[in-house]
């Protein structure tokens, strides 16, 4: 098991080396927040993939397929299709119109202060939720993977991840974050491809025998009875009969949050400011789609491979399916490699979240809302961002340690729901709708944010009645029957977000914003006047 620790330390040393190199290049705000806009298309594609594929995808989806078969695989699909929204609608106009944050696009033609304040709030909430979920995941991983090591506790893992992400972001800025994400994406793809090949080797490289055995998996189910099931058949998790009839609608609601939420995730959006122009942003989305799509197709081998080779009853928890499969097929060294990859995965994602939250606070809130867009001293914006990254890190470590025994899977769903219901409507309307106004933007952001949070609190993720036998980590936070029947609020909160933005705009028109729409259109579609690359 110590091999995993050495491999992970090698990753840490390499990324800290990159941070030192990046720190020397961080001479301006453009360099710190946007890596000097000098990242190339394929590099940014890898970084987007590294920023996006969290431990929830790598470990969570493999585990879900291993335990629930086809229904887990359906999860995989939405994560790639979501990038079409990024490619077709958001990436290029955002790159052309903005500077460092999502709010730049909105503030282009709307009244900057109220819009930036709301957008900054939404950005920080989405990023913090997501970050806490990732950090608790890191703590749980340590418990499962390194349980034989006396020195490494859950708290140590959470603190370690938190300290590393703060170091990357405070000293290395966007450039270091980008390279951490690129290395992680390469490691993750290497591990996944190798594990897939091992699975196929196990079946004599025959797809027929692989799929034949998925269709006939015999194992002992929870009630102790021996059952044979076809894991290629839908319905084991979202089927109407296992979810009181709400499963199919919940799945559609989840799909809506994924397909419209990804294009509203602040840490993904800021990646498009790191490339020289909109054309490169487009190329980088295509690279990201090739990598992300390949990865999610390969979850077929990871997930179904674990189901057939390990059998569902031998899998400790859903997050352990991929590491256990690696151990069974590749021995302790490969197990160690996959475990180290899982940690690298978490680190790359939390670093991306930290820099997007701190950039938004410094650029949107501090410089533009409090100081009306003027720096009182040069370099102040970067300084504020560094302090914010430190604070965000400390707060996340604190919350993650406090909540380490709470079931926080809903936090990831919440982040996507807020991104889809609050951020995406205002981004789309500001690009495509002339009459969109400041009142509409503030209303859309506020209603999308509040409705997502309220609906999740009323949903089965938080509310439920548990018997005394349920362990603390699995208990519902509110004991009582759920008021909202779906675990994913998107199907209701996304239309609410759009509706509030439209009604707000119609109630309070803004001639100045309408007048500036033509200018935004030219800039968004041609790149005239857009931020140029600074450092090479």
């Amino acid at each position: 098991m110590t091999i995993a620790v050495w491999m992970f330390l090698a990753f840490v040393v390499a990324t800290l080396g990159i941070t030192i190199w990046a720190a020397k290049k961080n001479t301006s705000a453009g360099a710190y927040f946007a890596a000097g806009r000098s990242i190339t298309g394929w590099q940014n594609g890898l970084a987007v993939a590294g920023d996006y594929m969290s431990a929830a995808s790598f470990l969570g989806i493999s585990g879900m397929i291993a335990l629930f078969g086809y229904d887990g695989f359906m999860y995989s699909v939405g994560w790639l299709v979501a990038y079409l929204t990024v490619l077709l609608v958001v990436a290029e106009p955002l790159r052309n119109a903005g500077k460092y944050t999502m709010a730049d696009l909105l503030a282009y033609r709307l009244t900057p202060r109220p819009v930036r304040a709301m957008a900054s709030l939404s950005t920080i909430i989405v990023s913090t939720f997501y970050m806490v979920a990732q950090m608790i995941g890191a703590g749980m991983l340590v418990k499962l993977l390194l349980k034989d090591l006396p020195l490494v506790s859950t708290e140590a893992a959470i603190i370690g991840v938190g300290v590393l992400m703060v170091v990357y972001v405070v000293f290395g800025g966007m450039l270091a974050t980008t390279w951490v994400q690129i290395i992680k994406a390469i490691l993750l793809m290497t591990g996944t491809i190798f594990l897939s090949i091992l699975v196929m080797k196990h079946f004599g490289y025959s797809f027929t025998s692989f799929f034949d055995s998925i269709a006939n998996i015999t194992y002992t189910d929870k009630s102790g009875a021996e059952v044979t099931r076809n894991f290629l058949e839908p319905g084991m998790k979202f089927g109407a009969e296992v979810t009181n009839g709400w499963g199919p609608l919940d799945l559609i609601s989840l799909g809506l949050a994924l397909v419209f939420g990804t294009a509203g995730l602040p840490h993904i959006l800021v990646r498009f400011y790191t490339v020289p122009d909109a054309k490169t942003a487009r190329v980088s989305v295509v690279w990201a789609m090739i990598i992300i799509g390949t990865f999610y197709i390969l979850t077929t081998f990871l997930g179904f491979g674990a189901a057939t080779i390990l059998k569902p009853d031998n899998i400790v928890t859903d997050n352990m399916a991929a590491p256990q499969l690696a151990e069974a097929l590749g021995g302790p060294v490969f197990f160690a490699f996959i475990s180290a990859v899982a940690f690298a995965t978490i680190l790359a994602v939390v670093a991306g979240l930290t820099i997007s939250a701190s950039a938004s606070f410094a650029h949107d809130f501090y410089t533009n809302v409090i100081h009306h867009g003027k720096e009182t001293r040069p370099g102040q914006e970067v300084k504020v961002a560094r302090i914010t990254a430190f604070v965000v890190g400390a707060v996340s470590i604190f919350i993650a340690i406090k909540l380490q025994n709470v079931n926080v899977a809903f936090l990831v769903g919440l982040a996507f729901a807020v991104a889809a219901s609050a951020n995406l409507p205002v981004i789309v309307l500001s690009i495509f709708w002339k009459k969109f106004s400041t009142t509409g933007a503030v209303a859309g952001l506020a209603v999308g944010l509040i409705s997502s949070i309220v609906l999740i609190i009323l949903s089965p993720s938080i509310m439920g009645v548990d018997g005394p036998e349920v362990v603390a980590a699995k208990r519902h936070l509110i004991q009582g029957n759920p008021i909202f029947p779906l675990t994913n609020p998107g199907i209701l909160s996304i239309p609410l977000g759009f509706l509030a933005a439209i009604i707000g705009s119609l109630l309070k028109r803004e001639p100045a914003a309408e007048a500036k729409f033509a200018e935004l259109k030219v800039r968004a579609h041609t790149g005239l006047g857009s931020e140029k690359a600074t450092a090479h």
Binding site: V77, L84, F211, V522, T526
Partner: protein
């Protein structure tokens, strides 16, 4: 700038059509799997059923739409550059 306006109209038309297409294609999956499970369980290719094949096809659909979009976008880039030079 009537030429620019025409170019934008073409671009928007393509983006709207492509978006409607991929949204319909994608949501057909949870709708069919959720409400017509028996149909989707039918095996087509060895043990592979409609449910798995349709899910797998989503990846290739996404890549195909991305490919067509990049081809189109390169044309728009050229057209926009020509308009800017003429202005």
């Amino acid at each position: 700038m009537p030429e620019f306006r025409a170019l934008l109209a073409r671009k928007t038309r393509f983006i709207v059509t492509a978006t409607i297409f991929f949204v319909l294609y994608y949501f057909a999956l949870p709708v069919l799997v959720g409400y017509f499970p028996e149909l989707m369980k039918k095996e087509v290719l060895g043990r592979l059923n409609w449910a798995y094949l349709f899910a797998l096809s989503q990846f290739f659909m996404a890549w195909a739409v991305a490919f067509v979009y990049t081809r189109k976008a390169a044309e728009w880039d050229k057209a926009a550059a020509a308009i800017i030079i003429n202005e």
